[in-house]
């Protein structure tokens, strides 16, 4: 819900870019140069003509002022959404300084946004599985019957999976290292047939472990054991406490909905990052409630170049309602009503010590043994080199959390080290059994949030 007349920031626009190349190309077009006939209406439509390589300029239209996220249209043949022209136009608009004057939208802009918005509306019923996606429509009896059928399929799939794990352990994990070992892909496909996408994902990830370097048998055994635990959990879900049963259902891959009662707070956007595989881009946004003093995770998905939801810029705060999903310690949430546009905020998450963060993770495993990490802010920590790796050391004691090995390859690590300069900083990140993944940092003194991912 971007309000009419509220200009976006440049950061907000750049986060729409589907990839780094688009971001660069868009930035180049974000100057008055190639544009003519630009304007924006108070109905939230921005338009312009962009000189391109063709003889006719491209007509580009973006609608920003509706609740479903921006809609784009452009004459160019790019298959990226948004294309660089749309990004450039938005950058021009966001840059202010009168580059895009207020005007009446010309006729050629009109038929498009409407059509596009309708399309966007349909797409939203896709992978994100909105609040009512699972229930479907029609009479409750039919819905119940469908749910039972699906549970039956999953049970058959889990039984099959258990059998395969047992066979694997009987023969030994060493066999999984053999080239051409096709068990995982085939088993994952079986889990997809069984309508258990959560299991399918875990199985597919198992396939990568034997080639992940020294120590792989330990990791493979851990993950096989946790998969087995999840399977057992599913088969005995009736005997589990409600919360744990909900966690199992969600981990297996049954859709859940954010049916917790909405909590209104000033939600600070503390971190955001995208991960992508061949099929799907996943955007994770961590919000931190200033009064609630806890973090919730927003997840959104984009398949095959489809735009993700417009990103919330790190460092801004939202006066909004968030509803929790029933599983995993109410950690995942969905953004509900907003009571104003995002605004800059000085709030920072309240931090803890390294020891407390490690203990938090351990305690949370009681509710969700499959949990990889918990969100946590560390206060007064110093990044310290430790051989080839890095750790975040408490400034006031001799304890430290190692950073995850992957952190060492990212430019974010160096931003963190530079920001600290050997002095304590506050760092928000994910703390888990692989170590700590820093996502955002704040200097000890005044200063804005520095994204590390």
């Amino acid at each position: 819900m971007t309000q009419q007349g509220v200009r976006w920031t440049v950061e907000q626009v750049l986060t729409l870019a589907p990839d780094a190349a688009s971001r660069e190309a868009g930035s180049r077009l974000g100057a008055a140069g190639p544009w003519s006939g630009v304007g924006s209406s108070d109905g939230g439509t921005v338009w312009g003509l962009c000189e391109g390589s063709g003889s006719e300029p491209y007509r580009t239209v973006v609608t920003v002022a509706d609740g479903t996220g921006p809609a784009f249209r452009c004459d160019c043949s790019s298959r990226k959404l948004p294309c660089k022209h749309a990004l450039g136009l938005l950058l021009l608009w966001a840059g202010g300084a009168g580059a895009v004057p207020e005007a009446e939208a010309p006729a050629w802009t009109r038929p498009w946004p409407v059509e596009r918005r309708a399309g966007a509306g349909r797409e939203r019923k896709g992978p994100a599985a909105g609040p009512h996606g699972a229930a479907g429509t029609g009479d409750p009896e039919a819905a119940r019957r469908r749910a039972e059928q699906r549970a039956g399929r999953i049970t058959a799939g889990v039984t099959d999976l258990e059998q395969r794990l047992t066979d694997l352990l009987r023969g030994g994990l060493a066999g999984a290292e053999q080239p051409g070992y096709a068990l995982w892909e085939e088993t994952a496909a079986r889990m997809v047939d069984a309508q258990a996408p959560g299991l399918a994902l875990r199985v597919r990830e198992l396939g990568a472990i034997p080639s992940s370097g020294p120590g792989w048998p330990v990791r493979l055994l851990e993950e096989c054991a946790l998969l087995h635990l999840l399977g057992r959990g599913w088969l005995h879900r009736e005997r589990l406490p409600d919360a744990l049963a909900a966690t199992v259902r969600s981990r297996v891959g049954l859709p859940t909905s954010a049916d917790g009662s909405p909590v209104r707070d000033r939600w600070l956007v503390v971190a955001r990052y995208d991960t992508a595989d061949a099929r799907l881009t996943t955007r994770r946004t961590w919000l931190y409630g200033a009064e609630e003093e806890r973090a919730v995770l927003l997840l959104s998905y984009g398949a095959g170049g489809r735009p993700l939801e417009p990103a919330l810029p790190v460092g801004l705060a939202l006066d909004a309602e968030v509803s929790a999903y029933p599983d995993t310690g109410r950690r995942r949430g969905a953004l509900g009503r907003r009571f104003g546009p995002p605004a800059p905020a000085r709030t920072r998450p309240r931090g803890v010590t390294a020891a407390r963060a490690a203990a938090d993770y351990g305690e949370t495993l009681r509710e969700d043994p499959w949990l990889e990490s918990v969100p946590v802010a560390l206060e007064r920590v110093v990044p310290v080199p430790d051989g080839d790796a890095w750790q975040l050391a408490d400034a006031d004691s001799d304890t430290a959390l190692p950073l995850t090995p992957a952190t060492g390859n990212r430019p974010g690590l160096w931003r963190l080290v530079a920001l600290s300069g050997g002095a304590p900083v506050t760092v928000f990140g994910e703390c888990g059994h692989r170590g700590f993944t820093p996502l955002t940092a704040w200097p000890t003194g005044p200063g804005p949030a520095v994204p590390l991912c």
């Binding site: 077009l29 140069g33 009987r170 351990g362 430290a400 050997g422």
Partner: protein, 547 residues
Amino acid sequence: MTRVDALPPGGSAAAAPAVWEALVTSALLGTDRRTPPGSGHGPGAPEALLDAAAAETVRRRAGLRPARAARRPDPAPGDPRPALPAAAAHRLTMLLADRPGPAAGGRRGGAPDLMELLPQWLATANARGFAAPPEALPALLDAARGRTDLRPAVLAFAGPRAVWLARLNPDWRFALRAMPGVGPVPPGSDAEERVRRLWDEGLFAERVALLAALRTRNAGGARELLASTWAAERAEDRLMFLDSLRTGLDAADEPFLEEALADRSRNVRATAAELLSALPGSALAGRMAARAVTCVSLDRALVPPAIAVEAPHECDAGMERDGVVSSPPAGRGERSWWFGQLVEAAPLRTWSARLGGRGPEEIVALPVSDGWGGELHAAWCRAAVRQGDGAWARALLGAPTAPEAGGPGAVSLAERAKLLGTLDAEERAAWVAGFIATHGLSEAFQLLGMCGVPWAVPLGRAVVDALDIARDAGSYPWSFSGVMGLAERCLDPAEAGRLDALLATPDEPENASPGAGSYWAEAFQRLVTTLRLRAAMAGELEGGREE
């Protein structure tokens, strides 16, 4: 290794690692071959193993404790400079994010080239004395790593924290070597002692940087520091150290340089001689003047009088000691080679007395007999550059509007560019403006490079007018891409308003290169956009001062 390197979970679970090891071994080999701990052999063994491993995995994860902290690095030294204004900090991020790459088909389009604006941004930020935002340091150092020309400005802007950071990342080692302006030794009560220690114990590159930095602050002190270890330095090091005396060269350096004329290394001797000849009052300059005047005389018998040249017949030991190189490069006669070196090293004021009290203009206008004119004028050009003599440079350059694109003495564009360097900024800009107005842009690139940024108004207008003329003539715009790029970076942003008229795509004149019109419009478009951007950049950096 994906596991947290944790402290042991405590005494009661001391047996746990052994259990886990046994589970892993059994899993790796298979329960058929190795019975897992705590279960019997048989069909239930794999499941028992998985049960035990699941419990153990969760237990191990839940029991993780933080590791012991490694040795902390010493904190980075403080940076007293004020922080950047927020808008400027944001701009810096944008400039650094723009990686130059082959844009669509190698064509630049109408958008500005942000990376090219970084040097200017850095110069302005440095002039205003702002501190770099710490989180921008990695991107700054990465940019400087790839472009050595950016390094001095980046390192000055990045400040002491960049050096601290560079010690932790081998990719940025270059920051430890060069420390222009700031100097590797921060001022303090024991500065002198630390300078001494770095000079005695430092790496060669650190010592060169130290000497250069010290020379700008305290020329005499730098010379004395060098003299204190001079005899013990290696020949190639002596050459580099001597070269750093170019900065702040004055008469007090003469005794040291005189001594260096007797150095074992020929290159060191030559450099010492060159430095001495740049001091018109030095004994060496006097000796060279005495030699040079015997070669040049005024033949008053001719009408008008002409300069007669009698080049030296030999290069004696005294000349060699004073830095004259005796063997000429291939293809040059010995005598003209020696002659050129003598005239180049003689103080220019010698010639007025020798040639009948004439001033530089009159002397340069005199005819020269027997085809020695080129040799003599070229040597005077080198002398004017070396001695920084504006009056002679002006005379040798001649009027910018002179036909054949050349003054009486300046033979090559490179020489002209060097002569311009001795004039003050305003005069230089006016001369180049005059040159462009007469001769167009095709030869102006090198001369423009000598002019201060932003270009003075007359110069900027001359360039824009010349571009406009080139477009009307139907030339290909890419013949002017070098000048266009310079104009984007150097034209005064205040001129942007005057350029609007050039943005329209004109009707193509007859015999114009096909399609040139739209390319020109695009090029001008980029010029205007870049100028606006530069104005915005300057404004953002200015804004911080008022706060």
